[in-house]
Subunit: 353 residues, 3 copies
């Protein structure tokens, strides 16, 4: 669907200049833009690329001389990335499909809300409740008794296991698993893991008399807040006797692991391949960088930022920026890293003294 430059600017809360009635079909990078693509040239770095493309209109940086750039119309957005949010939403197409596929297997006791879309070969178990305006793709598995709020999007291959509750407006990408059993096992005698923590590895581990790992069952399920989004192939494990919880507004990337009993606060960001081990509590507005990990039974305060691949092995006070393995304050990490870079030469010099 085409939108005029004027309409687009209004939707973004931004100002439009020039031939504001030009119609745009989609957005494009400046060099690849055709005459009906709105070029996204939000920094001066794109100046040359604009000339390579065929854009007649563009979103440009504050202060840009759009006429000199050869444009007929321009939108100026004060915070470029925020404008991207509104713009891509405007240009996105709704997910396809309507109604309930003839190939879905829905238990007669399940409650399906108004205007729900349910794809082919999806399964909805006994007593499950699906809210209004949900879009459920193909091959989705929803266990008996699960509750899904209104306006949720569940892409193909999502698995919701027993005792799972989703709030409103939750978006789960393909093959997300919510409510798989927690990884909770115990040995009859104290295990080598317990011994290693006690002895700090001073003593070599010996074979236990009974090596069996006895399973602690997961009875607590998972509770996901409103407006949470979870990326492809991520896992949120079920709690032991209470729910694992993800706070409202939190966004989780692909291939992320959230262990049993974990509590993640509101408006957090967990980037790809991050992991949070069992029973750890993550505050509100925490950012966990890609591949970062937090060990079990820890507390991470509000507004903490964990850098990519940071490995947190102890509690983190609120507001800290952490890096490294084990993770320390960013400043400490950088000092240590710089010192290490100088160390080989320092040792050579010391040897000469």
């Amino acid at each position: 669907m085409a939108h005029s430059v004027k309409e687009i600017a209004a939707a973004l809360g931004a100002e439009a200049f020039g031939a504001v009635d030009l119609l745009m079909d989609s957005a494009a990078e400046p060099a690849a833009a055709g005459p009906r693509d709105l070029a996204l040239a939000m920094t001066p770095a794109y100046e040359n690329a604009l000339a390579q493309g065929q854009a007649r209109a563009a979103v440009v940086w504050p202060g840009a001389d759009w006429q000199a750039l050869g444009l007929e119309a321009a939108i100026i957005a004060p915070r470029a990335r925020l404008a991207m949010s509104g713009l891509t939403q405007l240009l996105d197409q709704p997910l396809p499909g309507s109604g309930i596929s003839q190939f879905a297997a829905i238990d007669p006791s399940a409650q399906i809300g108004a205007n729900a879309v349910i794809g082919a070969f999806s399964v909805i178990g006994a007593g499950a409740v699906i809210g209004d305006e949900c879009w459920i793709g193909d091959h989705v598995t929803i266990a008996a008794g699960v509750k899904v709020g209104s306006g949720c999007t569940l892409h193909a291959g999502v698995r919701l296991q027993r005792h799972v509750t989703l709030g409103h407006g939750v978006c789960l990408h393909p093959n997300v698993v919510v409510g798989g059993d927690g990884f909770s096992f115990v040995t009859a005698e104290p295990s080598n893991v317990e011994k290693a923590r006690e002895t700090l590895g001073e003593v070599d581990m010996q074979p236990p008399t009974d090596p069996t790992w006895y399973r602690i069952h997961s009875l607590g399920g998972v509770s996901i807040g409103d407006d949470v989004e979870i990326g492809a192939n991520s896992c949120i494990d079920a709690g032991t006797i209470r729910a694992t919880r993800i706070g409202q507004g939190t966004k989780i990337d692909s291939l992320v692991q959230v262990g049993h009993n974990v509590i993640v606060g509101e408006h957090c960001l967990l980037c790809a391949q991050a992991g949070v081990a069992g029973s750890t509590v993550i505050g509100d507005r925490v950012v966990v960088g890609g591949k970062a990990g937090v060990a079990d039974n820890l507390i991470v305060g509000d507004d903490v930022v964990l850098g990519g691949a940071a490995v947190v092995l102890s509690n983190v006070p609120k507001g800290r920026m952490m890096m490294g393995y084990p993770a320390t304050k960013m400043k400490t990490h950088i000092e240590g890293y710089k010192a290490l870079r100088r160390l080989p030469r320092v040792l050579r010099d010391l040897a000469k003294r």
Copy 2:
């Protein structure tokens, strides 16, 4: 189903005190417990929480004065986490369903054991053998010729590829993939990886004449021992000309990768996001911490404990506790880490001399 305090204590092999005929529906954390929930207050840290909840009965720590805590009945368990295993098993509900779904696609030549449950839209290929008492969820794919032992649980979206054999009592969580092709490719001339290992990176890599990666096919499949459990979205790759093997009693968490030809011993624990690269041999009772990795073609001895995020780049003798990147003995790692923390100040002091 309700159980009396007396029954629960008997099932746990623990002692019950007070009004042991009180009926309990489920277990709960002390602060959230209702009158028919057995509160789990296994350490003195829960004393205040018990007062906040409405529990009439609880599992308490050895030596607790349960009457003074306001309880009518109590169970005292000498090893709390072990008691959790029995207790959660007792309170867990069996997985739903019975018989074979009318929506399953089962090849006529497949053999299905007695009392097997098979969910909707599951596929069982030609000549596959499914043992007695198996519970197979929805959307499971079992390739032709696969053998599944008795009493196995396969959750939704599990994929068993060609040449896979499961023992008895195996539990696979949603979207587990067993028997995907190994990641095994070769270049016509020695590749840059081979050169980098030889030159230790002293020489910059040059483009090869033929950059094609030729595929080594995976003919060996996977063999999984009895009582193995594998977490959601984990992958066990097929071996080249013999099976990749997971020993009996080993437990694997979510998002774990086990490469082709790997042999994992018995009663191991592989925590979330761990990875074991091709052809490595892991001994018995080894614990691999979350996010830890073991490089290819190595040997890790029995009873080794690898800390979270440890990266193992050489063989590990039995019984060692290892940490760091590259992984070293825990003691060496901690010494090095402490020294590094002091280093910036030491360098500043040296500069002043």
Copy 3:
């Protein structure tokens, strides 16, 4: 299907000796080989193992005295791993099935190429185009409008989301997700991540006025080149306004994450659990080791080799071999590591002066 030693050698471009008409059913490790298994004894290390098995023929190392090893026939291959490629291909069996399953749900407007195999419960959306000779397993989801080239193999549970294009000869292992939404969110005011990068963590983070993460939609899809292979449970995220791209001949292992807008060059190797964050550009013939990560918006040059678990936080010039966290040249990393190992003693000595 049985092959003679002579035929196998011809297929490998290698020389055969002795009773070259012996028929072989499959390949095996020397110690496990039966009389109709071709033993793979490509280095002298297998000499004793050959004696333990029953092999009558083997692939042996250059210079081996095959008759003294008790063999009746032998193949001598100059580059053993390359021979493995041809040999395993020869012995592999074709994937089963033919035609389109009666249980597949194919939109009438989809175009299905000649000789395509489509498994049970697979879904192909409106307007999708599937090339000739494709093999599509069970439970595969192909969104409306997706284009799949000829000769592709899509294993069970693969999800191709909107705006995805696959070249020819692409192989996707079970539960691979291509085209899930990119992880792209923005706050109304500069976020704590932006602040942390500016202040380098010197200042503790404060709660923002509006903590909401606004979603940037993914309109660009994914474009996958010819002969790309992607391992089980890996994710390639959709680009924002242009496609995320994987170059031809690139091979990707299991549980790998490729973020939105990323460009991966040709003939790269991305090993298990590797991750490439948004908008990063990876050159041609780059090898990314297992668990290695590359941060967002970086450039990694051609022919770079990243060691296992390396964490790249800045651009990498072409041809470099990198290790560590943060990743540095391999030589720098090893020097630093060795110096760190010596450091505790050096500090003790300094303290004594």
